[in-house]
């Protein structure tokens, strides 16, 4: 099942994949045990002439321990999963790196638009420029996208980064990531946003640092 995951190109994607693998193997054991026991009992305890069923109600604690002990183990594993999970969530969603490259983003029916700081490196100045549907970032660099919707809820999703964040109208939501491999990757919208939802397809383009500098330079509007 895990092999269906697409390649991971982000710094934190591996944490998410590892957590998924931990969960997968833990629940996998329980799944096989439960289904296996179920199937085994169905076969083993088919009606046989002369062999009545065993009258056991599971009312005493001793009998119930067959259920309660496994349930207690489930509880322990559940809490273990949450214990492993919290740092991963915090890394992606809470602990934003302070010195990230900032890019602005908007979403609307039915395209993305990203605003870059231009040659001066500062967002919100006169040399900013905007591109539809293309998010350009340098490799191995923390980037921080502040996104807002102009109409309905959309969702910023880059499978190979493992990031997803709903984009709301009326407030800014924030995404950060660090891409470790150059390339061009799809950026779908992952929240139903109308009849054109399926067409709302952006791209993450990851450049080498030098390429990125040149790209910014070439796109910055003339003074």
């Amino acid at each position: 099942m895990l092999s269906w995951l697409p390649e991971n190109v982000s710094t934190y994607g591996g944490d998410i994949d590892s957590l998924f693998a931990i969960i997968y193997y833990i629940v996998g054991v329980w799944f096989l045990a439960a289904e296996g026991l179920l199937l085994y009992f169905i076969v083993r305890y088919r009606r046989r002439e002369g062999r009545p069923a065993v009258y056991v109600r599971g009312a005493s604690l001793r009998q119930l321990s067959w259920v309660l002990v496994p349930a207690a183990i489930v509880l322990a594993l559940d809490l273990f999963i949450d214990y492993k999970g919290h740092p991963v969530w915090a890394r992606v969603k809470q602990d934003f790196p302070p010195d990230a490259l900032r890019i602005g983003g908007t979403a609307k029916q039915f395209n993305w638009a990203f605003t870059y700081p231009g040659r001066d490196g500062e967002l919100g100045t006169g040399d900013d420029f905007t591109m539809d549907n293309e998010l350009h970032v340098p490799v191995d660099q923390n980037v921080h996208i502040a996104v807002e919707s102009q109409d309905v809820i959309h969702s910023f999703f880059i499978p190979v980064i493992r990031v997803k964040q709903d984009v709301l109208p009326g407030r800014t939501t924030n995404v950060w990531f660090n891409a470790r491999k150059t390339g061009r990757y799809e950026l779908p919208c992952a929240e139903l946003c109308g009849f054109g939802h399926y067409t709302m397809r952006g791209f993450l383009v990851v450049h080498s640092p030098e390429e990125y500098r040149q790209w910014i330079e070439s796109r910055t509007p003339a003074a």
Partner: protein, 580 residues
Amino acid sequence: MGTHAPAHGGSQHADHPEPTTFWSKYVFSVDHKVIGKQYLGIGVFWAVAGGLMAYVFRWQLAWPETPVPAFGWVPEPYMYEGVVPPEFYNSLVTMHGTIMVFFAAMPILLGAFGNFVLPLQVGAPDMAFPRLNMLSVWTLGVASLVLLSSFFVEGGAAAHGWTGYAPLSADPIYTGVGLGGTLWLLALALEFVSFLMGGVNFLVTTINMRAPGLSFWRLPLFVWMEVTASVLFLLSVGPLVAAAVMLMLDRTIGTAFFLPDRGGDALLWQHLFWFFGHPEVYVIMLPGIGIVLEIMPVFSRKPIFGYRAIIWATIVAGALSFIVWAHHMFVSGIDARLATPFSITTILISVPFAVMVFAMIASLWGASITLTTPMLFALGMLAAFIVGGVTGIPLGTAATDIYLHDTYFVLAHFHYTLFPAAILGGLAGLYYWFPKMFGKQLDEGLGKLHFWLTFVSYNCIFIPLFTVGIAGHHRRIYNPYEYEFLKPFQPTHQFVTWAAVVLVLTQLILLVNVVRTLVAGKKATDNPWNANTLEWATASPPPHGNFPNGVPQVYRNPYEYSVPGAAEDWTPQTAPRNAA
């Protein structure tokens, strides 16, 4: 068959004279048995409609923009010579979800089986409020007409997802759907009213009208589940009713509860919806489990293991269900610090359900199992529900949900919980209680064929959807092959669609079985399954008033099978304790 005590603690209202006219017998009936069948009719109609909608959108996913076989008759602008356009696709997925949750699962599990079986299992002559009961099914009838009409108005039926997220749903300009979206809200509101009325009946009847000797700890688990579901629904639906009213006002008279550009909030709908939405899935799940808990002991010839543990687990799960809702909203823009608390509460819910699943498996140890059709569907439900349960873990863990949210993984997960409850559980209940409801028993051969084809095709649909979900395939996408990363999955989608075709066509076997049985089947005995609970202590079908010899006296627990030293391997609840 035990002594019969005079009616005890019962409501005078439950006694109504036997109807005589066609209209009062079959149409405007206050009898819970007729009302149950009316709910069954409504639920089955919508299950078929919802299933056919799934066929249409599944065809689009497999062979995009090609004509859907057998659907060329749908006029423009819904479909164009059999081809689904994006607007109608969004409508189909929206309405499929709405229909299956509110107009198929609930009517079948609560309306049909709850109404038919609960008064019988508690030994009552009818529900506490028979006229309220009739009003509840008629309200659902009106709700159904409203929902149906939404397809035929300009702009078509709702297309904003069954979850109805605002602002997409709050202004017709965003979807192009106008009146249809408002009718959607009205239909849902009426459905809520219907089930609130029904829930009142379930609770009052169970509390007040149990037969003498039938303490709460001797109630069949199905009754416990229906009662818990009714309480969950009662306590959770209020916020959604409020939200629906606000949404309707936004859509029609220009308020802005959910429209941020005029002061509204984009997240408020989600909180109100999911506060209800999570308990709601247990409103569906628990009765489905309840049906399985009735069937398993009968065809294992031994008691359910851990009767009280199951009841405590049910109450705990129900209570927890009110504090998990934001696991549907991890990436919605809520404060990130809320994610871990909700992950913890969510993962805790797996514990009571684990208790139930382990108890059900333990119930099979040392059993004497007969794999009748109801038992096959019940065990199939359990096997499928285990998949649903384990796949909930990565979704309820916030960090993995970042990736999995709004992918097909979620979809496959909930089709491994809701489908087992509503369809596998519903079919188990149908085969099990059919003789009691209709006086004739469905054919076992056709039943087994129906089971295997249904179960295998169902798994062929949803297992592959886990894999495409893990690959990142996002939801509600009209044409996945617009995306490079999804192009490799067209063969998967085609396989899934073929499985869906098989699943739909397989239901014709049930139709044939039902028609043949009703027309020419053998009459059923009072108790064809040699079962203990009170519905089997009267005729099939029961006469007016259910227990013509008076309210039964109950002496025993519901699952006393293979009691050591007993003459038979079943000991009905009405068997006196010191009987020779």
